[in-house]
């Protein structure tokens, strides 16, 4: 895992950061509200088109990689092993209801994961920080988010270094499950203790910058929140509300 690098050019890069976040959240909610069986599948298609138009088309391929094992298990559990009436498809005998349920769930996974990864690839930490500061979010909330984002790749590198160092010292971590489980302690403990030793140093730095005091900060260069951005966000909210009303009143559960 790496922190999102320079955000890709295109619509996603130019849009207000909260517009991208709102879109990904709206797709997540809609995936469970649109009428099955076609709704989730169409939403998946729409998500793919959307991320491609917005210049983060690589989210489609990555989404397929993330979804593939989930799709396989859905097909096995519901299509092949599902109950109820069956249908033949070549050499396979599939559960009719189970196959539809698997397709619906596969569409949901595809739509949500593609939209989420699209937002991830368009994400620019400093723009996001400025955008939420302009909105009046407390500094420590946005700090937690961005500090975590920066800590993740560093700790993954440390984990890799710890594995290499212990391997050089002769730690055996192949073989049976017990032998591998025992190797967790020498690999993980330096990571945990090192992190705790770092806390004081970081806390002093934060203290000096008065981050914990909270209060509203004034961003130097907040991203523009255009009329188009606001229209998109309100339209998404309206769409979700309409889908919710539709779901509650007529569509099958």
């Amino acid at each position: 895992m790496t922190a999102p690098g320079p955000a890709s050019p295109g619509l996603a890069r130019r849009a207000h950061p909260l517009t991208g976040l709102s879109t990904a959240i709206a797709v997540t909610v809609l995936a469970f509200l649109v009428p099955p069986p076609w709704g989730p599948l169409l939403l998946y298609g729409a998500s793919g088109v959307l991320v491609a138009i917005c210049g983060v088309g690589r989210a489609i391929r990555q989404g397929v990689i993330v979804c593939l094992p989930l799709w396989v298990f859905l097909f096995l559990l519901h299509g092949l092993m599902g109950g109820g009436p069956t249908r033949s498809l070549g050499p396979l005998t599939l559960s009719a209801d189970g196959t539809i349920a698997a397709l619906v769930q596969a569409g949901r996974f595809g739509a949500i994961i593609t939209a989420s990864l699209g937002f991830y690839h368009a994400f620019d930490p400093s723009r996001f920080l400025n955008a939420v500061a302009a909105r009046g979010w407390p500094m420590h909330v946005s700090y937690l988010f961005v500090a975590t984002l920066h800590a993740l790749p560093a700790f993954l590198d440390r984990a890799g270094a710890s594995i290499e160092a212990q391997r050089t010292r002769g730690l055996r971590y192949r073989g049976g499950a017990w032998a591998r489980a025992r190797a967790v302690v020498p690999l993980a403990l330096p990571l945990i203790l090192g992190a705790l030793a770092e806390v004081d140093e970081r806390a002093h730095a934060l203290e000096m910058r008065a981050v914990a005091v909270g209060g509203k900060r004034t961003p130097l260069d907040p991203p523009a929140d255009t009329l188009a951005d606001r229209t998109i966000r309100w339209s998404l909210l309206l769409l979700v509300l309409l889908a919710l009303v539709g779901r509650l009143t007529s569509w099958p559960m």
Binding site: M1, M81, L144, T148, L152, L156, Y173, V184, L206, A212
Partner: protein, 189 residues
């Protein structure tokens, strides 16, 4: 929120993710992705533990799909039980850690099974779903297969996680651990 917590929480979230990488390298059939959450709950209390768990879940969702946000209540449950374990001296030795880990595994597995079945139709992460598939193949109904596989994997996972956090807490120098009064209680001191 104090500066110490602001410094501690991002590091604990990073620990959750980095230990996940170590476990993957060792090809172990567990996750150990709540080490940071349990550690912070035992060091700094319930609020900090919940914050760590929820931020971890948000980041997991951020990089692999918001669909995983459905499991956020489990992070709250983990922080809650880890906090109670710490208050009861649940990390004072290896045996106590394992017992509290198993308790959390049962509670977490039950909640996880409920969410997996309702929101995901039983298909979530690879290891658990593989076990579910094997159980369904053996003739067990899907709801029971999801419950059984979640319970088995969670009990093993959380027992190991608690044991690892216990080892880490007992390894801390007195100078460092004395800054966290709850941690002293967790170790029965």
């Amino acid at each position: 929120m104090s500066s110490r917590l602001l410094a501690l929480i991002p590091l604990a979230v990073a620990i959750n993710v980095a230990i996940g990488r170590i476990v993957a390298e060792l090809s172990l059939p567990v996750y150990l992705d709540a080490v940071g959450t349990i550690l912070v709950s035992a060091l700094a209390g319930l609020g900090a533990g919940i914050a760590t768990g929820l931020i971890s879940q948000v980041f997991a969702a951020f990089v692999s799909g918001y669909v995983w946000l459905a499991f956020a209540p489990i992070q709250v449950l983990i922080a809650l039980l880890a906090y109670f374990a710490a208050r009861q001296g649940g990390f004072r030795n290896f045996g106590a850690s394992i017992v509290w880990g198993c308790l959390l595994g049962v509670a977490g597995g039950a909640l996880s099974a409920f969410i997996s079945y309702l929101a995901f139709k039983g298909v979530t992460a690879g290891g658990v779903t593989f076990l579910t598939t094997v159980l369904v193949g053996a003739g067990i109904d899907l709801p029971w297969a999801v419950a059984l596989s979640s319970l088995v994997t969670d009990v093993i996972d959380k027992a190991l996680t608690f044991a690892l956090v216990g080892v880490a807490l007992r390894s801390l120098p007195v100078r460092m651990i004395s800054r966290y009064p709850l941690a002293l209680r967790a170790l029965g001191r």
